[in-house]
């Protein structure tokens, strides 16, 4: 996801304030970030059904807490990612999820199926799945969501130094997994 310029950030602040005054305007924030949150959840859980659950709960909680939200100069997506990461963690502690893809295939193949069918994508997803959750979260926030280290730190409640260390360890581990799978050789 592209990083917001100062002008875009200011426009987003006005949008958040408008949504706080009139919850019907929350739809604009939803449209802006639903794909990003779904994608983040999908990469975290590896399941479309869980990604839908996480996305739905994330936006429900965001809407519920909208009146008390205070703008701190970071994209609204930082809050959404924070909620999504917390929901994912909670889901991970639950019993294994029953996937019904075989019995109930999607009605028609979407772009995600094309992505899954590509060997490199599948290998990358498998390598990401082998990382510890905190490292995977940091890498997704940095390289998929496009957040800066300071924003990631605020999102996951860690220091910027910890985010840098997690990035380093995550990329190192990913390198080893991908080397083993002969992707980068």
């Amino acid at each position: 996801m592209r990083r917001l310029s100062a002008a875009e950030l200011d426009a987003e602040r006005r949008l958040v304030e408008a949504a706080q005054a009139d919850p019907a305007r929350f739809g604009e924030l939803y449209e802006r970030y639903v794909d990003a949150i779904y994608s983040f959840s999908y990469h975290q859980t590896g399941s479309h059904q869980q990604a839908e659950e996480v996305t739905a709960e994330t936006f429900e909680r965001a809407l519920k807490h909208l009146p008390g939200y205070r703008w701190r100069g970071v994209p609204y997506s930082a809050l959404l990612y924070r909620i999504a990461a917390s929901v994912v963690s909670r889901h991970r502690r639950r019993p294994p999820f029953l996937e019904l893809h075989e019995a109930h295939p999607a009605t028609k193949p979407g772009p995600e199926d094309a992505w899954l069918s590509a060997d490199s994508g599948r290998t990358l997803r498998s390598a990401l799945a082998r990382l510890p959750e905190d490292q995977r979260t940091v890498l997704l926030l940095r390289f998929e969501a496009g957040l800066r280290n300071a924003e990631i730190a605020r999102t996951i409640g860690r220091t910027e130094g910890a985010v840098k260390a997690l990035t380093f360890r995550g990329i190192s581990a990913l390198r080893k997994h991908l080397d083993r799978d002969e992707v980068l050789t």
């Binding site: 939803y30 994608s39 479309h48 995600e112 840098k164 990329i171 190192s172 390198r175």
Partner: protein, 109 residues
């Protein structure tokens, strides 16, 4: 020399702002990590939510929701009422404690 995670973070920032990685010759390991980071950035494709799901969730979120029962109490014009109620309750507790203590002293005497 700075720690490798600091050097990697700086190199990533430089690359993202369009500059060179500017690594020293001793940073062979970092070069490999930057290559992995580049691969990650290129291959990590956004998986969009299915349209039907997005539609359903949008409609569900748009449903009117009653405000929590306590929210109106926090409005500025209601705050004096809450303050008065809390103050009266505190005064009643203090009076109750004093009365009980006096009775206890009277029974001892």
């Amino acid at each position: 020399m700075t720690r490798p995670e600091q050097r990697l973070a700086r190199a990533l920032d430089r690359l993202e702002s369009g500059g060179p990685a500017a690594l020293g010759g001793e940073d062979r390991e970092l070069l490999e990590l930057l290559e992995t980071a580049g691969y990650l950035r290129e291959s990590l494709t956004t998986v969009p939510a299915p349209d039907s799901f997005k539609r359903e969730l949008r409609d569900w979120l748009a449903q009117p929701r009653p405000a929590p029962w306590w929210r109106p109490l926090l409005q500025p014009r209601r705050r004096p009422v809450i303050g008065a109620a809390v103050g009266l309750s505190a005064a009643a507790v203090v009076v109750g404690v004093l009365v009980l203590r006096r009775r206890r002293l009277a029974s001892v005497g």
